[in-house]
Amino acid sequence: MMDRNLSAQSTTVLGLDLHSYTYLHAQSSVLSDIRLEIQPGSLTVISGHSGSGKSTLGAVLAGLLPRYDMDQLVGSVSVNGTKVEFSDSLQPRVDIAQWSKHVGLLPQEAGHYLSGIRGTVSEELVFCLENQGMPREQMHQLVTALAQRLGLEHLLDRHPQQLSGGQERLVAMAALAISEPEVLVLDEPLAGLDKQATALVSQMINLLRAQGTALVVLADSVHFWSHEADALWSLEQGTLQRLSTVDQQHQAKTSKVERQPASDDSRVLLNMASVQLAYPGAARPAVQDLDLQVRAGQCLGLAGANGSGKTTVLKAMAGLLKPTTGTLDTVGQTGLLLQNSSDQLFERTVLREVSFGIPKKSPLRKRVPEVLAQLGLEHFGDTHPYELPASARRLVALATVLVREPQILLLDEPTEALDEAGETILQEVINSVLERGGAVVLSSHDEQFMQRTADRVHVMN
């Protein structure tokens, strides 16, 4: 079941020879016929859209999958010269703690890697050393050295739950690095980060690589990584394909969507005049002296750093928050897609979710299949929203908003969790709302998306 084979594979720190991988209760396999070898200190990039199985692949490499007695893996994984065989008849029980000393995985949701039960970042960093029983003095030295190496000193005394998304990712990566695994698998390490955080995270990735850690990056597109990578792969229909530089040309971003500019004399749908917004009990108002006007057929972008009040403004437009001073007038119905849109989902199937609260005889009922088709969800009608890939789940939340035909569509960080196909669908949705005389207000830190989509951008400060 396991044998040492140092001579033949001494140049490979991690090898995968996978015939098939099937989840419990699944009809067909998600991955098949994948062969991958990771050399020490190399950078391997694997691209694939949301739901392509790249997270599954990452978890298999890190020993987190298959779940014992549930999923079915046929193939073998070699970790640092030790080969573990999986077959129909034999599903060994992996010691995840031992495996992760060689291969670490940074999950897409970096916060999931953090234990969530420690009071400071330093304590969070040494969580796995504490479990191994390392003496306190030694842990102190390791943390100090690691923080210095990765430039994290300023975060050590912070509370792990008060970190921003980017900082959370830095801390999780450092926590992975502290046990010095030979390979780190990073699942979407840059997704959802603004420019500054992207720079910091990719800087840490470079540092780790310079120190000899082999990296496997799973990403929506290889775009960002193509210059650095030693090997580029694309995961399609459950199997890996090597990407050449020619293929990358196809992956170039779509250009600015052509659209009739809205005329300046079209109807004003939303008007805010010297608006002040404050949360009950907060010491200072979240937003002050805001003047905004949005006309029919216009798309307004809200930009600004975290905490500048973008979400607050959107919530006020949707009527969740009343201005303390100033006036806010809207014409027609508003519909808001929240950043954390899973909070909006509660039904057992996508179809029930989207038709929730719409009376049987209402003409809006007819909209349900139309909207599902528009968002490419027509085949998921009977699926549980939580069993969909993240990108599709976000689109389901968007569908619940669209089905009510809002005059003003409000989108809070709409590109988050969307893959490229999802982003294209989002573009089309925005255009269709504008074309039928509606208006769109969106907040985003994705500058490219903002440039392509918004007619004008209001920077919050």
């Binding site: 040492r4 209760h25 020993g63 010691d95 031992q98 549980h384 069993e387």
Partner: protein, 268 residues
């Protein structure tokens, strides 16, 4: 030196000690209960029964802690991360549901969910822990730990024998569980606190006692009115919440697969 990547086969040397703890915990609980029922210490009126109060408090608490220590090391990590969620759900859903409705406690939805998904031992552990953590905010709940353990244990047992395969079976199982829990918990209310801590339940006890019942039987009768109703509602709500989970999640619990807890609701 590369370390072994696979887990060794499980050994049974440590399980004996845990079995002994579980047995000891159960024995203490049963013995205390029987002693109280048989002797019916009347000191509560003369000397206020301080000794009985302390003894009951200690015995119920110790048995609950023993049961917890016996069960904890056996639980898989996926159950361990579920328990804190269940504890928080007990408190949050209890507040939300309880604030609208009538004099039921509804403080065990999370415990029952864990019992349904992860089996009776996990359910019992959740019950005890829920009480221990909650006692940091409300110290009086401590001696009720054994009762809470029983709720989780019974939820797991009910799920194992098919109470979740039909919607209407869940509240019936809850009703039965409520009777048992009420009977086991009332000596605590009687001998430790000399009654109940709610005005509504207090009025019920007073009414029974004015009809000539002893304090213990009055408290037990009150518990038999409140508890079955409470547990029936809790079991029903918990069952509906479990049905709402995606199959991928509920099916990942070995207990659910092994005893076909959800019946046809999860194919295979």
């Amino acid at each position: 030196m590369s370390s072994n990547l696979l887990l060794p086969e499980e050994t049974s040397s440590q399980t004996l000690r845990r079995r002994l703890m579980a047995v000891a915990g159960t024995v203490i609980l049963v013995a205390t209960y029987l002693t109280l029922i048989i002797t019916q210490p009347m000191g509560i009126v003369e000397g206020l029964g301080q000794g009985v109060a302390l003894g009951t408090f200690a015995a119920y608490l110790i048995s609950a802690v023993l049961l917890l220590l016996a069960v904890l090391p056996d639980l898989p990590v996926s159950t361990l991360t579920l328990i804190p969620v269940a504890l928080a759900l007990n408190i949050i859903l209890g507040q939300f549901v309880g604030s609208v409705m009538i004099p039921l406690y509804i403080d065990s939805i999370g415990t029952v969910i864990v019992g349904f998904l992860a089996g009776r031992r996990a359910g019992a552990a959740t019950g005890v822990l829920s009480t221990l953590v909650w006692s940091l905010f409300a110290p009086t709940v401590l001696p009720f730990a054994a009762g809470a353990a029983l709720v989780g244990f019974l939820a797991g047992t009910a799920a194992r024998y098919g109470a979740l395969r039909r919607v209407y079976l869940a509240p019936i199982a809850g009703l039965v569980a409520g009777v048992l829990v009420g009977v086991v918990s009332s000596p605590v209310a009687t001998f430790v606190y000399g009654g109940t801590s709610g005005v509504g339940t207090g009025a019920l006890v007073a009414a029974f006692s004015s009809m000539g019942d002893s304090l213990l039987s009055a408290v037990t009768k009150q518990a038999l009115i409140s508890d079955p109703g409470d547990k029936a509602v809790v079991f029903l709500v918990a069952a509906l919440l479990v049905y709402a989970l995606p199959k991928r999640l509920s099916g990942s619990f070995a207990f659910v697969r092994r005893y076909r807890v959800l019946g046809k609701r999860v194919s295979k």
